[in-house]
Symmetry: C2
Subunit: 203 residues, 2 copies
């Protein structure tokens, strides 16, 4: 019973490291601790395993999007939190965001797999953009709009501010995805970025 889940887990790990086309069912089986033919007791093909992973991604996304989370939309909950937020708090929040993106095991594998497969499937491309552009930008924009309305930030285009806040976080994350040893360096830059952002835009 557990095997069925374990297969998805192992497969996602492998797909996120090498990409679908470079992973063999034998490797998945080995990771699970069974032989390749036994996989077929659980999924009817390699493609079906991939599809199940995607399906799981969509479910998870829908579930989490409904709740509060990084890409969520709870402007109102958060607005209280960020009302009169200090620079240090902003730093803590940015680093939290970054660290979650970078270290959450599922998030991380999911992102790497999408990175690899994004050009081969339109749906994956859209999923990627939604998760790492549309939603974060939408969310941050809402937040910044509130901060502006509350007089905490200069009255500039909140959408552009969101882009300027988020893009460096994203870029540093991609660096760490491919060169994990650069995390310390990235964190340093990240902190400087947020402090400078805060200083420049604070009213």
């Amino acid at each position: 019973m557990d095997t069925k889940k374990k297969i998805l887990e192992v497969a996602l790990t492998l797909f996120s490291e090498k990409g679908y086309g470079n992973v063999y069912v034998g490797q998945i089986a080995e990771g699970v601790g069974i032989k390749a033919p036994s996989l077929y007791k659980h999924y009817k093909s390699k493609q079906a395993i991939f599809d199940a992973i995607l399906e799981e991604m969509r479910n998870r996304y829908d579930k989490e999007a409904a709740h509060l989370n990084i890409t969520g939309n709870d402007f109102f909950v958060d607005s209280k939190v960020y009302n009169n937020i200090s620079e240090d708090e902003l730093v803590k929040m940015g680093i939290g965001l970054f660290s979650f993106f970078l270290h959450d095991e599922y998030e991380c594998k999911f992102r790497k797999m999408l990175t690899i497969e994004q050009f081969s499937d339109k749906e994956l491309a859209e999923l990627f953009s939604r998760q790492y552009f549309n939603e974060p930008i939408k969310y941050q924009t809402g937040l910044l709009q509130l901060l502006i309305m509350q007089g905490n930030m200069k009255n500039e285009d909140a959408n552009v501010m969101a882009l300027q806040f988020f893009a460096p976080i994203y870029l540093l994350m991609t660096v760490c995805d491919r060169e994990p040893q650069r995390e310390a360096e990235a964190l340093q830059m990240l902190e400087k970025h947020i402090r400078q952002f805060s200083r420049m835009y604070k009213e």
Copy 2:
């Protein structure tokens, strides 16, 4: 003679769309207009084709890095250009940078292929980081330092400013790489970003 080059060209195109593991030598041959076995008159294996592409990338990089170009280091040439640069000029430059990255055929395929293969090879990871992080940031940092020294920009950390200038360009580019129909939207945001950046940091 020409065939040998054409093979690399076709292979790079295919690798950048599907990734090495999902491309078959027959497809490469078809693109070139010959049959698969004829490929072996030019390269001893599929892997050798991939390696030749990498080799070409390195050569090109070394050649271009020596000269002036996007990721180059000619602070001094450019400093004259940017001395007392207007906001409009900055916009034109940013959009030029973005458009080059996005539309230059070789640049574009190269980037997509690296995007797909970056996690499977340390060398590729480093190449990617160098090309799309280290070098642009280093270059922009130098430029901004000059602008600061010349009193055109506020005296903030130039390295962070470079990150804040470049990261949105990069992020928007990745969006267009996977969803080319969003280019107009991206260009709009890009222009707003640069104008706002310019306004915030200008002395």
